[in-house]
Amino acid sequence: MKLPGTPYKNEDFKAGKIPYVEDKPDARYQFSVGIAMSRFLEELRKGKIIGIKCIHCGRVYVPPRTFCSYCFKPTSKWVYVKDTGIVNTAVVSYIAADRGRMDKPLVVAVIELDGASPGMGILHKLGNVDPEDVTSRKIFGKRVRAVWKPEEERTGSITDILYFEPVEED
């Protein structure tokens, strides 16, 4: 079927058939991570996950923040949480950043960590998971644990955890 409109190809631009101006943005930043996130990232380097507790309402936030989103008091009590938890929600992504189709889909999940308050969790990748378990939603509520990079390769980054994988349950 012939569609309406004028088809363009990259070659048409390169050939000068279509007027355009090319420019390359130069936007570079060095984000200050601040008090709470600095500690979180440093603990990841050590293979630990740290949260913070609001003494006022008792919520334990992971990742930590210096304020309570719900009662607006300052948070102050650092607490380590486990690197295990349950899958709150998950998705199978087939589209890469360049809009191309990925050969191997990426499974991304929100994980409620053991020791954090209900509903508090971190976003990360899931590994060793059958995408069918995500599309069928069997993965919801499943226990998972972090798979860490070797200690010498950690840099104080969220990627110091490679992914979370299912834990065999009794």
Binding site: V21, D23, P25, D26, A27, R28, Y29, Q30, F31, S32, V33, G34, I35, A36, M37, R65, T66, F67, S69, Y70, C71, F72, P74
Partner: protein, 378 residues
């Protein structure tokens, strides 16, 4: 249009050349806690709407408005962001309260300029990609164009402009939140490095990091709290053309019109007689004089006389930027207007009732230049 909106609280962090120890969220939280405490309200119970002002490229985060509720006490509340300076946010909050639907609206703006590796590259991306970016790499060129014709048209001396720098950096010495206070001789300004003639390096405000939150409220809230809060007598903003070639370089009409909107709302016919103190744009030194002239605050003085006679000094008839302006406090990007509002409120509170009316004004660019003006009174 009448105005029955009050500033019941305001809070600010220190302004600093850099803040590597804090995230932008932590800066915002500090300013918000101070503002709500100053207002005597609990945002989780009392806040109706949160307005923030931000531009994505200053943040380095797309869709930045999604990053603001938690640290401002605004989770599960109506929140929106004005793409511009915080004083434009105040204008939006003012309108919201005037609808009668909301009683307490807070406004936030901040700067993390120090997180930007090359700030001129961000300014450059604001320029027209077809006809300006290929020509100009540094936006101070436009300030130079403006300054040159302004000084020629209004017969302004170089020394008068340099005295603005000297005055404002000196005024900042008494401001504990200001990082750039200094005892500067006008000759130092005259001999500083030429950036785009006649603009010299000391004519340009340095950047600063910081955050400000203002809490606006209806008369009902002010009466319930039983507080004496400054009222926004008038407020307005106006944009010029986005074609830089068509700017009114010497005496910008958009500034005059923004002033007229605010004056009209505040029933002010003679600005010089009515305004006790002015906190106005001085991102570039000459802009302070240009704004005085364009807003009708010159009282018939020549701008040289105005400076040489000390009219705009802290003990003059019309103190201008008495807490240091951008030259002394630093230019905190889109938090500039709220920085000036904060200084105005502090000045009015410290005046023991003698300061009846304050004018707050700042500008934004590029490519459209625009100005916002607010008049505060008791």
């Amino acid at each position: 249009m009448s105005s029955d909106v009050y500033i019941i609280g305001i809070g600010a962090t220190k302004f600093s050349p850099s803040t590597p120890e804090f995230s932008f969220k932590e800066l915002m939280y500090e300013a918000a806690v101070k503002a709500y405490n100053d207002a005597g309200i609990d945002p989780r119970k009392d806040l109706d709407v949160m307005v923030t002002a931000a531009e994505d490229y200053w943040e380095g985060i797309s869709i930045f408005d999604e990053y603001v509720p938690d640290q401002l006490g605004a989770v599960l509340k109506p929140v929106f962001t004005v793409s511009g300076d915080g004083l434009w946010g105040v204008a939006h909050a003012h309108m919201l309260i005037n609808t009668g639907q909301f009683d307490v609206v807070a406004v936030e703006a901040h700067s993390k300029a120090s997180d930007i590796v090359d700030i001129q590259s961000i300014w450059r991306m604001a320029l027209d990609p077809y006809i300006h970016r290929p020509l100009v790499d540094n936006v101070h060129v436009f300030a130079g164009l403006e300054m040159n014709i302004f000084m020629e048209s209004l017969d302004v001396d170089r020394d008068a402009v340099s005295l603005v720098v000297s005055k404002n950096m000196g005024n900042a010495l008494g401001n504990p939140l200001a990082p750039y206070g200094a005892d500067v001789d006008p000759d130092m300004v005259n001999e500083s490095e030429v950036v785009s003639y006649p603009l010299r390096s000391m004519d340009i405000s340095k950047y600063s990091d910081g955050a400000v939150v203002a809490v606006l409220a209806s008369r009902k809230v002010v009466e319930d709290l039983g507080v004496d809060a400054p009222r926004i007598l008038g407020i307005g903003w106006v944009s010029g053309s986005s074609y830089i070639e068509e700017w009114d370089f010497a005496a910008p009409e958009f500034v005059w019109r923004a002033g007229q909107l605010a004056y009209s709302m505040a029933n002010i016919n003679d600005p010089y007689d009515s305004i006790d103190v002015a906190f106005i744009d001085d991102r570039y030194s000459f802009r302070e004089l240009q704004s005085i002239y364009t807003l009708g605050l010159d009282n018939g003085y020549s701008l040289n006389e105005l400076v040489y006679n000390g009219v705009t000094y802290p003990d003059g008839d019309l103190p201008v930027n008495p807490f240091g302006g951008y030259l002394g406090c630093g230019y905190p990007l889109v938090a500039g207007g709220l920085q000036k509002l904060y200084n105005a409120v502090m000045y009015m509170r410290s005046g023991g009732g003698d300061v009846e009316t304050a004018l707050v004004m700042t500008r934004m660019e590029y490519p459209s230049p625009s100005a916002a003006v607010a008049i505060l009174g008791w």
